[in-house]
Each structure stands twice: as structure tokens, then as C-alpha cells.
Subunit: 105 residues, 2 copies
């Protein structure tokens, strides 16, 4: 689903990744992290897709809400295991959404 | 491939979409638009993935380079046909990338 987000400005974290062939635990972790993100203060929504590249964009009210989520204990563990096992490479870009518009049939 | 982008700040356009079942011409258009984007002044890179949701993130030097690309004639035609045939819905978010970091094995 396309995330329903408020009128800008708000913030986006673009997480682009390439996975390893190691799958054990990956899907459970990914599901759990999305569940946890939904409970975080300032969380606005998330969008995700994967072909070869995976792209997950999460939306947040403020840079502070992004920082708190980044440092959350269970998320830190997921990040560490991610670097050890699940990801060959990734890039995280923290952005301020300045304007948005859309289209619906 | 994860896009190689310069030190922030730079700009990102997050294009999130849901497709219709109508495929005629879609793949050619998508390929052509990526080729054209690469030739635009200020274009830095692009990342794309699709599961149910499609996410394409293009990176740009400035808001002005994004505006010029948006108004380019062949791109305007693609946008119009997109709304008429290929997309059920989409959302475009124009962002300033404030910081980034990454990981590589």
C-alpha cells in the first residue's frame, strides 16, 4: 500500500539494500521490525518493494523520532545481525520531504 | 544497484506506484524514461524495485534539476499515458537528503 502521510514537511528514511543468500531469520526479523516501527512515536507509515534491490521507505514526523528508532535496543540487534548475515550492502538516506502529490483512479 | 551519490545535501524523488493490469507499452516507457533521466542535467542516479508496490527513487543535484525533468516534453507524455493506462495510483515525494551512510561486506 502507498503510505498515507500528512502535508509536508515530514521525514523519510530510504533504506536500499542488497541481500545475501542467507535467509534464516530474515523474514521474521523484517516483519518484527515493521511491527515495532508502527509502535514508535512519530512513525507515519512505510512502503516496501524488492526485485534484486530492496527499497524500504519509512516516514516520520521528525529527525528526533528517526534517531530514537535507530537506537532502540531490539532494532540495534537487528542492524548488527543484518550486517553479519542478511545484507551484502545497504545505504540509508535520511530526507526531509518538502512536497508531495499524487494520483488515484 | 544501489546508486552512488555524492555527500549530502542532494535531492531525492520517491515515486511509489500501484500498476493497473494494462501492460502494453509500459516496459518500453519505463526503460526509455530511465535512459532519458540519465541524460538530464543534475541527475545523480536511480534505484527501483517492485513487489505489489513499485518504488523508484531518483536522485538529483537540485530542486531545479527535478523541475526541469518533470516538465520535459516526452516525460509529460509518459506521465499522461501513465495516468490514463498504467497506474492505478501513485504518489511522488520530493525530498532533500540531509545525511546518508551505508554498509558493504
Amino acid at each position: 500500500m502507498i503510505a498515507t502521510t500528512p502535508t509536508p514537511p515530514y521525514y523519510a528514511v530510504i533504506f536500499t539494500s542488497i541481500r545475501t543468500d542467507y535467509n534464516d531469520g530474515y523474514s521474521d526479523m523484517a516483519t518484527r521490525m515493521v511491527e515495532m516501527a508502527h509502535l514508535q512515536p512519530g512513525f507515519l507509515g512505510v512502503e516496501s518493494a524488492r526485485t534484486e534491490l530492496g527499497i524500504t521507505v519509512s516516514y516520520w514526523e521528525s529527525p528526533e523520532s528517526i534517531r530514537v528508532w535507530k537506537e532502540k535496543a531490539e532494532h540495534l540487534i537487528a542492524q548488527q545481525i543484518g550486517r553479519e548475515r542478511w545484507y551484502e550492502s545497504y545505504k540509508i538516506r535520511v530526507c526531509k520531504v518538502e512536497r508531495d502529490y499524487g494520483f488515484e483512479l
